[in-house]
């Protein structure tokens, strides 16, 4: 159980929750959250938006009963969090180009903030694509070297990757597929997948994805994969 410090709407339908937590958490990992007994049945996998010692932050979209309940929680309430699960993003030693779409931008903030803290001399650019209302842009602008924003269009139409950059993307699969296809083969591209999952630890096999190396579990083997492993590019 974790005690909620804050839980507020960023824009309608998008919430930011901060909870007490101590331990090691890597960017790109996720937790299974629940604040109810049997209904809905499953816990909800939510990616880590930010982590600083003692405080874990989730940015989540209200899409169904589980996230509706999460959105009603108040400071001082408790939420069950299991994790961190998944391997998270790999260590990158080059400049970074990050492409996020919608709520898929959530795990990218901790990635960039940590990357810049550990690599102050390296560049990090981020492309942010939103269907209608943008959010988190100022926060990204505070940690990234450059923010390229698109609202209502197709973010990958604007994408231009520099030769030395490693690319990391998270968002709708159609967007990640486009990123995987348009980025030159010389650049390394990592994609963070999303999948229906029941357990989060590799036991249920509900989140299995086909890869060139056979079936992989999004929760345990991922959620981050090199593009060539999961996309035909």
């Amino acid at each position: 159980m974790a005690v909620i410090q804050s839980n507020t709407a960023v824009i309608p339908g998008i919430y930011k929750m901060c909870v007490d937590f101590s331990g090691e958490v890597k960017p790109g990992q996720f937790f299974m959250l629940r604040a109810w007994d049997k209904d809905p049945l499953l816990s909800r996998p939510i990616s880590v938006h930010d982590y600083q010692s003692g405080q874990l932050t989730f940015l989540y979209q209200v899409v169904g009963k589980g996230t509706e309940i999460l959105a009603t929680l108040l400071p001082g309430n408790e939420v069950t969090i299991q994790g961190p699960y998944g391997n998270g993003f790999p260590q990158v030693n080059t400049d970074l180009c990050v492409v996020g779409g919608g709520i898929g931008t959530a795990p990218l903030y901790y990635l960039i903030r940590k990357f810049k803290a550990e690599n102050p001399n390296k560049k990090c650019r981020i492309y942010l694509g939103f269907r209608d209302y943008p959010y988190g842009v100022d926060e990204f602008a505070a940690v990234a070297d450059e923010v390229i924003l698109d609202v209502g269009g197709i973010i990958t139409d604007k994408l231009s990757v520099l030769p030395e950059e490693t690319v990391i993307t998270c968002g709708p699969e159609i967007m990640m597929t486009a990123v995987a296809k348009v980025v030159p083969p010389e650049n390394t591209v990592y994609v963070s997948l999303e999948a229906h999952m029941a357990c989060g630890i590799g036991a249920c096999l509900g989140c299995t994805c086909e890869t060139k190396a056979g079936n992989k579990k999004v929760c345990k083997d991922g959620p981050v994969f090199e593009r060539g492993v999961v996309f035909n590019v």
């Binding site: 629940r34 049997k38 209904d39 809905p40 049945l41 499953l42 816990s43 299991q82 229906h196 999952m197 029941a198 357990c199 630890i201 590799g202 036991a203 249920c204 096999l205 509900g206 989140c207 299995t208 086909e210 056979g214 079936n215 345990k220």
Partner: protein, 301 residues
């Protein structure tokens, strides 16, 4: 741990009657991060087939009120990989490993069983009830004649006891259970998932590529409890029951209905500690009720 939960399933001694169910527990490795598997009465392996199986394509999970639908399709590494990669680890655990075996036809069942003759497992759960594979699986388990036929052939060649896992989707569950008992089964387990359907109205399509899929979780518990009671009343061999067991109270109800052991399935996904919580709850119940052994309330209904 006290002796009040020790349970005999035929001549197999379980330190307690609580066993994570096949398909919810992998080969145990994922849960070792949460607790010592030796605390379990036993564990039941992921459903194994003779050859490796990639499982079903498309969406595999769908949540329903108090239930979970799955269409995993028996994804597993195959019997040989199990024997080579998983069994060396499992045999060192101080708990009973049950191996769940599925098949696509008679030959694949029998060859798989023959391969398992080479290792010292305590009990085989013969899966003739998986609703998520097109060939074999549930096709054997919905009629008494076919269930008895495959059971008889498997029992004849297996050097391990055979517990047949029954489908709730069959024609007459008690008849099937009796037929399996007559064919030599040394135990019955039930229930496998209930065949259901989900439609995504937004996409105007069935959720699962196979259209139908298996429903589990608390939603199925009353049905599983009724079926457990009916089968326990009818057969003389022990029954291992499952279906929506989420806490010690649920487990106790199945034991009161006559189950010798209980399997814990879908709840493992919500609460990895569920089997341990259930063991603790049953133990505390025995102490409160001053039972020397949980046998004393088994089948009282």
């Amino acid at each position: 741990m006290s002796e009040c939960l020790t349970t005999k399933f035929n001549d197999i001694l379980f330190k307690n009657p609580v066993i994570p169910a096949s398909g919810t527990f992998g080969f145990g490795r994922e849960y070792e991060a949460f607790y010592d598997l030796a605390k379990l009465g036993g564990l039941c392996s992921k459903g194994l087939t003779l050859e490796p199986k990639a499982g079903n394509k498309g969406l595999r999970l769908w949540e329903t009120p108090a239930g979970l639908m799955n269409s995993i399709g028996l994804e597993n590494p195959g019997i040989d990989a199990f024997i080579n990669n998983e069994w060396p680890h499992l045999k060192e655990l101080d708990t009973v490993t049950i191996v769940n075996v599925g098949g696509k036809d008679e030959e694949s069942y029998l060859t798989a069983i023959e391969k398992l003759n080479a290792i010292d497992i305590k009990l085989i759960e013969l899966n003739i009830s998986c609703p998520n594979v097109k060939a074999g699986g549930m096709a054997y388990g919905i009629k008494a004649e076919t269930a008895a036929d495959i059971t008889k052939k498997v029992v004849e060649i297996s050097r391990h006891p055979i517990m047949v896992k029954l489908s709730p989707n069959g024609e007459a569950l008690v008849d099937i259970a009796l037929a399996c008992e007559a064919a030599g089964a040394q135990g019955i387990s039930l229930i496998n998932t209930l065949l259901g359907m989900a439609i995504d109205y937004k996409k105007k399509a069935a959720v699962f590529d196979n259209q139908y899929a298996g429903l589990s979780g608390p939603a199925v518990k009353p049905i599983a409890l009724r079926m457990t009671h009916q089968v326990c009343q009818a057969v003389d061999i022990p029954v291992m029951a499952m279906g929506g067991i989420s806490n010690w109270e649920d487990a106790l109800e199945f034991i009161m209905a006559g189950a010798t052991c209980i399997q814990v399935g879908t709840i493992n996904f919500n609460n990895p500690m569920a089997p341990i919580d259930i063991i603790a709850g049953l133990e505390a119940y025995c102490v409160r009720e001053k039972l020397d052994n949980i046998d004393q309330i088994r089948g009282i209904i």
